[in-house]
């Protein structure tokens, strides 16, 4: 399996990664060599095998639907690159 520069551009866009056009060919080569390696998986006979969902085969534990703690909004927003009046600031979304 190999990827070309256009496919890498598309994947990078889906993953929201700004990649310079000049870097696309090298990424294409590296990602293709990784996909070649993982292609060995196709040789495994997995007919009737259940995909593993959890390494301990445990069921997801659920907690009671009760308030257990309240986040400290001011402390967390102090970490934000731009926050104001209890809001996170982003570029205008709606004209």
């Amino acid at each position: 399996m190999s990827l070309d520069a256009d496919q890498v551009r598309r994947v990078a866009e889906l993953a929201r990664l700004a990649v310079d056009d000049a870097e696309l060919p090298l990424y294409a080569q590296e990602l293709s060599s990784i996909l070649d390696m993982v292609d060995q998986l196709q040789s495994a006979d997995t007919k009737g095998v259940e995909p593993m969902a959890h390494p301990l085969n445990m069921v997801q534990r659920l907690r009671a639907d009760e308030v257990s703690e309240r986040p400290d909004r001011d402390a967390y927003q102090a970490l934000a690159p731009q926050a104001e009046g209890g809001h996170y600031l982003v570029p205008r979304v709606i004209e």
Partner: protein, 488 residues
């Protein structure tokens, strides 16, 4: 006496603190001075927390004076910079989090604090724990204390380098595909990856959530047992945390080995294993035979598929986990974004290094429409086959022994050009993560002046047996006592 504090075991240090041979404050100052003197060459730490360390040490001395000290009270340690530490920068070795001061402690950090440890700083690592050589760190690679031209291993390379250089007797790490065991092997330390769910993942920056597990580094299994007893345990804040009681791992160290069945998987001694490294592991197997263990030839037939399965599952989970870095709530934000999409893309493009971007892209690709079944679903099925191999093996044997790495530490820059070459070196370690099993690396020889390790793997929650088996070996050998020159 005080000049050689960094050569003492944790048990000896705890005894010295109780006997008042030295105080916790003197102990912290000793290690901080060593870091100051030598970390310019090693680059084991990203952030030093001298002031907090001295305050922690003062608290430990108070507890000692009140007679309320536990086995880890006043013992210095460093935390891998993936563990959130309240009020201290937690960078994950990424530009993305270069300015991130954690608002709370990881559960493992809180538990160790509760046990009285003194945290000296935050250890270097591969960016977001993605790497096997510590070379993807935004802060430059950690260097191997045995030869500073060589890698310390990764991803927990700074933690390993710190203990091997005598900067601290203990260090935390995380192990998603070998990130504790591989650096432990390459720096001559004992390192443990516990069973999936044994230690809480709360407050550990997530890489691959079905594989991630906290572990630790020490000079011996005995020291490691003290640390694991303090770190492990159920945590309601981690929904995959195991509801299992934590035994006293130190009390379990002296189980006799006689009658222990030790499996030797033939796939772990095939092509690709450096001859001298293989010989060191074979010699360790012989030592176990002398100690009364029965060596059983076993097969793990799907071993060759563990690296391909891992490099689908781990990047897939990473691409999902790292979606949280958006330039909005915390972390790096690009200047003057044109719109929201530009804000996301440039913040992430600037904040993440190349290896992290490669893995996010591979992950996004294998999860995308049309490829999900062929890659991701197939990898999860192969993962089941790998787990079944171990399950079958553990009906015949108690533990499994083999090499931790194919060869000793290589030179910095040697494997930078092709990611796949580096990935293939993870062949012996990733299967324990895929199957959720505990595994430990312990030093078992030297090859051209560089340490090599043996790996012991066990069934789920067999940490006590692993530590006891390593401890028995360390009672009759002295590989774990070898020290790099800087740590003499």
């Amino acid at each position: 006496m005080t000049n050689a504090l960094h050569t003492l075991s944790v048990r000896q240090l705890a005894q010295g603190l109780r006997d008042k041979s030295f105080s916790a404050l003197e102990l912290a100052e000793h290690f901080l001075a060593r870091i100051k003197a030598h970390d310019g060459d090693i680059n084991a730490l990203i952030t030093r927390t001298d002031a907090q360390a001295l305050a922690d040490a003062q608290r430990a001395d108070d507890a000692l004076a009140r007679g309320q000290a536990g086995p880890l009270t006043g013992i210095p340690l460093v935390h891998k910079d993936i563990f959130l530490t309240e009020g201290v920068r937690t960078s994950c070795a990424s530009r993305m989090l270069d300015n991130f001061v954690a608002p709370f402690d990881a559960t493992v950090v809180a538990k160790l604090k509760q046990a009285g440890v003194v945290s000296l700083g935050k250890a270097n690592m591969d960016e977001f724990a993605m790497g096997s050589s510590n070379e993807t760190s935004y802060y430059g690679p950690s260097r191997n204390p045995w030869d500073t031209q060589r890698i310390a291993g990764g991803s927990s390379g700074g933690s390993a380098a710190a203990v091997a250089a005598g900067f601290a007797p203990l260090a935390t790490g995380t192990d998603t595909g070998g990130s504790v065991r591989q650096p432990a092997a390459l720096t001559g330390l004992t390192g443990l990856k516990p069973t999936y769910g044994r230690c809480s993942r709360w407050g550990i920056v997530a890489f691959a959530s079905s594989l991630d597990q906290a572990g630790g580094f020490a000079r011996s299994a005995e020291d490691l047992a003290l640390m694991l007893t303090a770190m492990a345990g159920f945590d309601p804040k981690d929904s995959t945390s195991a509801q299992q009681d934590v035994p006293d791992y130190s009390a379990a160290l002296n189980q006799p080995l006689a009658g222990l069945k030790l499996g030797r998987p033939r796939e772990f001694f095939a092509d690709g294993l450096d001859a001298a490294t293989g010989a060191a592991v074979e010699a360790a197997i012989e030592e176990y035979r002398k100690l009364g263990a029965e060596i059983v030839d076993i097969s793990l037939p799907n071993s060759a598929l563990s690296v391909p399965a891992y490099y689908v599952v781990a990047p897939a989970e990473a691409s999902s986990n790292l979606a949280r870095f958006d330039g909005v709530r915390y972390g790096h934000r690009a200047d003057s974004p044109a719109d929201l999409k530009d804000l996301y893309s440039r913040s992430r493009g600037e904040g993440f290094g190349r290896e992290v971007q490669r893995r996010i892209m591979i992950g996004a690709y294998v999860l995308s429409h049309g490829y999900y079944d062929a890659y991701y679903l197939q990898a999860q099925k192969v993962r089941q086959l790998i787990a079944a191999d171990f399950e079958r093996a553990f009906t015949e044997v108690d533990l499994i022994i083999g090499p931790t790495t194919p060869a000793p530490a290589y030179k910095l820059g040697e494997k930078n050009n092709d990611p796949v070459t580096m990935y293939l070196d993870d062949i012996y370690t990733v299967s324990a993560n895929l199957a959720g099993l505990p595994a430990l690396s312990a030093p078992c020889g030297m090859v051209e002046g560089l340490p090599v390790g043996m790996q012991l793997m066990g069934p789920q929650f067999a940490e006590g047996r692993l530590l006891a088996a390593a401890h028995a070996y360390q009672q009759v050998t002295d590989w774990h006592l070898q020290r790099a020159e800087v740590a003499q």
